[in-house]
């Protein structure tokens, strides 16, 4: 079986609302171990593990930890990003609903190592159950002495507060999230400075996806070097993959990096839904590339995905079968980003509506070759000049479709030309 349950090993074996259940299965043991370690040592283990952010960007977690540790206090923040708005992603929901304390433990270890003082878990507003679960778990952890002042008799104090989103995908972006915690509209800030030097309330802040934090206790328990043995050289450890779309078995599956997309879809997903052939797969979420069937042997790995000029995304694999054409899918993607754009920068704010206009022309079979050129050019400009990750990754689907499904575009244009020339 290609599945490897590391951070999902407790799921199904514990009552998520019971801290006792969690503790009985090694819960908070890694944190206790970390407390006995030198702070630098903890960071070194994460460095050896080469843990990369699981929210999509894949940024090395240890670099952020070193950055935060370097900053002088007295107030420093750790934020668990559970804004999970990427279509096709539900792994953070899965983690929070089923093993909430693991995330708290991860944040505790990172807070200890970096001398952080306060934590937030920012959960998208639609995840009502996760919000109440995390709030309950924080209460439980505090009652049991894992959060609060001088935790377990040490000089380390840390508290966590849950904050709810209010329906804005863009708040998954670091600075937009910070602005939201500060009570403002979720618009990103000019970088630099980066959050580790000036974040929430202008204090040093480290933000990571909750799945990233869930990996921390594992790293401390088994050691960074052992952790790095799983996966590939450039993408260590396991990844939660969310399988959805036209596939038989939908759900969250934990696999080591390096496994191929095809094996996930066939072995874990049971293949395409009954009676239909797989036509295309969108990787990572709406911000990811759309690839054809013949590319499915590609390994799930950060470096491989870099070849698409985009990030892995958060790990979603959306299977789409032959009943759907590329244009309606691209339209869905463009509409999503158009609705979620914060509006701060021109390419994203004004670009999406133009993408929609051109894609509609392809749907209506009224597109010309000039439209194709404009679409490609606009997508690239948005990708290269947008202020934040939303605008930068939104055109990825279009750029990949133009590469791998170009024939569909050409056919459409030729059809229109024939129509214009009265050849039909």
């Amino acid at each position: 079986m290609i599945e490897q349950k590391v951070i999902t090993k407790r799921i199904g074996h514990i009552n998520p609302l019971s801290i006792e259940d969690f503790i009985s299965l090694d819960g908070y043991a890694a944190f206790k171990k970390a407390l006995s370690m030198n702070r630098m040592e903890v960071i070194e283990q994460v460095e050896k593990a080469y843990l990369r952010g699981r929210g999509g960007a894949g940024f090395p977690a240890a670099v952020k930890m070193i950055g935060l540790a370097k900053e002088s206090g007295p107030v420093k923040y750790i934020i668990g990003n559970a804004d999970e708005g990427e279509p096709g992603n539900f792994k953070d929901r899965y983690l929070m609903e089923n093993d909430p304390h693991q995330i708290i433990e991860g944040m505790l270890i990172v807070a200890y190592a970096t001398r952080a003082t306060h934590g937030y878990i920012y959960i998208r507003g639609e995840y009502d159950l996760c919000i109440s679960t995390m709030k309950w778990s924080i209460e439980q952890a505090t009652k049991h002495g894992f959060l609060g002042k001088n935790i377990m008799g040490s000089d380390f104090s840390f508290t966590i507060e849950v904050r709810s989103g209010a329906g804005a995908y863009v708040c998954g972006e670091e600075f937009a999230l910070i602005e939201s915690i500060e009570g403002k509209p979720g618009r990103t800030r000019v970088k630099p400075p980066f959050p580790t030097s000036r974040g929430v309330f202008n204090k040093p802040t480290l933000i990571n996806n909750v799945e990233t934090f869930a990996n921390i206790p594992v790293i401390i328990s088994m050691g960074g070097a052992a952790y790095a043995k799983v996966g590939t050289a450039t993408s260590t450890g396991t990844k939660l993959i969310c399988l959805s779309g036209n596939v038989k078995n939908k759900g969250v599956f934990e696999i080591p990096f390096g496994v191929s997309i095809r094996s996930v879809i066939n072995e874990l997903g049971g293949g395409a839904a009954k009676g239909h052939k797989l036509k295309m797969v969108q990787l990572g979420g709406a911000c990811g590339p759309i690839i054809p069937e013949l590319m499915l042997d590609m390994a799930i790995d950060y470096e491989r995905f870099e070849e698409f000029e985009s990030k892995t995304g958060a790990g979603a694999i959306i299977v789409i079968d032959e009943r759907f054409n590329i244009f309606e899918i691209l339209m869905k993607v463009a509409l999503f980003f158009s609705h979620e754009s914060c509006g701060k920068c021109v390419p994203c704010r004004e670009g999406h509506i133009q993408l929609i206009i051109i894609i509609q022309k392809f749907i209506d079979r009224k597109a010309t070759s000039q439209d194709l050129i404009s679409l490609e050019s606009l997508a690239r400009v948005m990708h290269q000049t947008s202020l934040c990750g939303l605008g930068q990754t939104s055109p990825t689907a279009i750029i990949s479709a133009l590469r791998y499904f170009r024939d569909d575009f050409i056919d459409c244009i030729e059809f229109h030309e024939c129509e214009e020339n009265g050849q039909l």
């Binding site: 329906g167 509209p185 969108q282 979603a316």
Partner: protein, 150 residues
């Protein structure tokens, strides 16, 4: 008064604006914020009314126009879309007799679309008043609405 009670729970700082708006608009039966209420919040937090309006208008959860008692959010993204064989949105539009963005005459339901709500493992899905309803069929939808109708 509902708004005053909620305001007093928070220190008077802009940091708590979203929490205040969330709590208030969820509990208020018409799920929106009026001009007078914007003014009260602005005064309490010592920020301009324009600032409160700006934040209120940024987030999808909030509204400055009255909405129905139950807000139905229909997911419109790809994982639900490719598994939606019967058209959830149209079914609801017919059942409620309203279009997207509208509220029923008896002010019971408002129909909205939403970006992905993370139920892609059990599509198609909708969200009503903070509860997720998944693996929908025409019959299921009819039953859900009947239950809310009481």
């Amino acid at each position: 008064m509902l708004l005053e009670d909620i305001l007093l729970k928070y220190p008077p700082s802009e940091e708590h604006l979203i929490e205040i708006l969330l709590e208030f608009q969820t509990q208020k039966e018409t799920h929106y914020i009026s001009e007078e209420e914007i003014a009260k919040i602005a005064s309490y937090l010592h920020i301009s009314e324009s600032r409160v309006c700006s934040t209120n208008s940024f987030y999808s959860f909030f509204s400055d126009k009255p909405r129905g008692k139950h807000i139905i959010q229909v997911c419109k993204d790809i994982p639900c879309y490719v598994n939606d064989s019967f058209n959830v949105l149209e079914t609801l539009q017919k059942l409620l007799g309203i279009h997207v963005g509208e509220t029923t005459a008896n002010k019971k339901f408002t129909l909205e679309t939403t970006s992905c709500i993370g139920c892609c493992d059990n599509p198609p899905a909708i969200r009503i008043d903070g509860k997720m309803y998944t693996n929908l069929t025409v019959d299921k939808i009819k039953a859900i609405i009947a239950e809310y109708r009481g």
